[in-house]
């Protein structure tokens, strides 16, 4: 329960360093420089892109809103079902 594996500790310390480095990446240097104009404009699209990129696979694939529908045999069965019984199928579901 309380053992501390040396390798895991090393991984934890390495990941801590990565947290500090990535979050402060452009704070490290004090050299004055300006970002190209296109990059400055591009920055306003990056945060929302990052958020949706993180959550979209969760919502669409992992949590299975789309994934489950695609995996669900009934999705495909419904398309193949003859016209006469499709009304029954819809009523059941």
């Amino acid at each position: 329960m309380h053992e501390l594996d040396g390798w895991t500790l090393l991984a934890i310390l390495g990941m801590t360093a990565i947290s500090v480095i990535t979050r402060g990446f452009f704070f490290i240097s004090e050299r004055e420089w300006t970002l190209p104009e296109w990059a400055q404009r591009g920055l306003q699209y990056a945060p929302i892109a990052a958020l949706t990129a993180v959550i979209a696979p969760d919502i669409l694939l992992t949590e299975g809103v789309v994934g489950a529908v695609l995996r669900d045999a009934r999705t495909w069965a419904r398309w193949r079902r003859p016209v006469s019984t499709s009304g029954v199928g819809a009523a059941v579901t």
Binding site: M1, H2, I28, A46, A50, L51
Partner: protein
């Protein structure tokens, strides 16, 4: 009632210097916490935190369930303090993957913070290097988003610096307290819970709400849709590189779709709503 500060630390013996340093720290913290914007930041962050804590909880449950000890899980939560990087690294650690693979995965998931730090640079550069890194470390996804939404432009006066710093710390402290509390709860309750309650989805929904509030222009909506589509299509990439690739694609397409030529004197800040 402002207490007088101790004399110049240079004249004091070592123990006095520590006391004087502590007194100045406490004074600075108190000044930050008394600023009205500290509480605005705290309140706005608390609104989002309810959902994010479920994510913290599940990240911790995932750590314990993957076979990490309680000590290791507590250390990882307190030190690494990056839910998505932890979630990406946990299965790799459990599988005894090489150290560089674990770190590469964490770095790639955290690459978005590199972009954030580029954006925050003009806001932070008035601080000394250690404080910049310290503040940057405590600034997570949501506090960054809330901060740049409230302050589209970097501070110019001392008053603005104080206001922005107070708002950011209000959000950061709230985020840290919520995150670590639920994280600890998750670690200690983790072993007793059924492994899959789908609780992490609450965190996803919280992030979705934040993302929706950021869609203030058509081009940002385009960026969101492009990033979502690219992240899903590229889901097969290793180490969650799909996130980095999706950001790059979305930014490139949004820039390409911008109306041209830009008006004279226009800049990124002016477009922020």
């Amino acid at each position: 009632m402002i207490m007088p500060l101790p004399p110049d630390p240079g004249e004091l013996p070592a123990r006095g210097r520590l006391g004087a340093w502590l007194a100045r720290r406490v004074d600075t913290w108190a000044r930050t916490a008394r600023h009205p914007l500290f509480w605005v930041g705290a309140r706005e962050m608390a609104g989002v935190s309810i959902g994010l804590t479920a994510w913290a909880f599940m990240t911790s449950v995932a750590m314990v369930k993957s076979g990490m000890s309680i000590t290791e899980s507590v250390l990882m939560s307190l030190l690494v303090f990056a839910g998505s990087a932890q979630l990406a690294a946990i299965p790799l650690i459990a599988a005894d993957a090489p150290l560089w693979v674990v770190l590469a995965a964490a770095f790639c998931v955290n690459l978005r913070f590199v972009v954030f730090s580029l954006h925050l640079r003009p806001y932070f550069m008035h601080l000394p290097r250690f404080k910049r890194l310290y503040l940057g470390y405590f600034t997570g996804d949501v506090t960054y988003v809330l901060f740049t939404r409230r302050f589209p432009r970097p501070p110019e006066t001392e008053g603005q610096r104080r206001a922005q710093g107070s708002y950011l710390w209000g959000g950061n402290v709230t985020n840290w307290v919520f995150w670590q509390s639920l994280s600890m709860l998750g670690i200690f309750l983790g072993a007793a819970l059924p492994s899959r309650w789908g609780l992490e989805f609450a965190g996803t929904l919280a992030l979705l709400a934040v993302a929706c509030s950021m869609v203030t222009t058509r081009l940002r909506a385009l960026s969101a849709i492009t990033a979502a589509a690219a992240a899903v299509v590229l889901f097969g990439l290793p180490y969650r590189l799909n996130i980095v690739a999706a950001i790059a694609v979305a930014v490139a397409i949004s820039l390409y779709a911008e109306p041209r030529p830009p008006a004279a004197g226009d800049d990124a800040g002016a477009r922020d709503a």
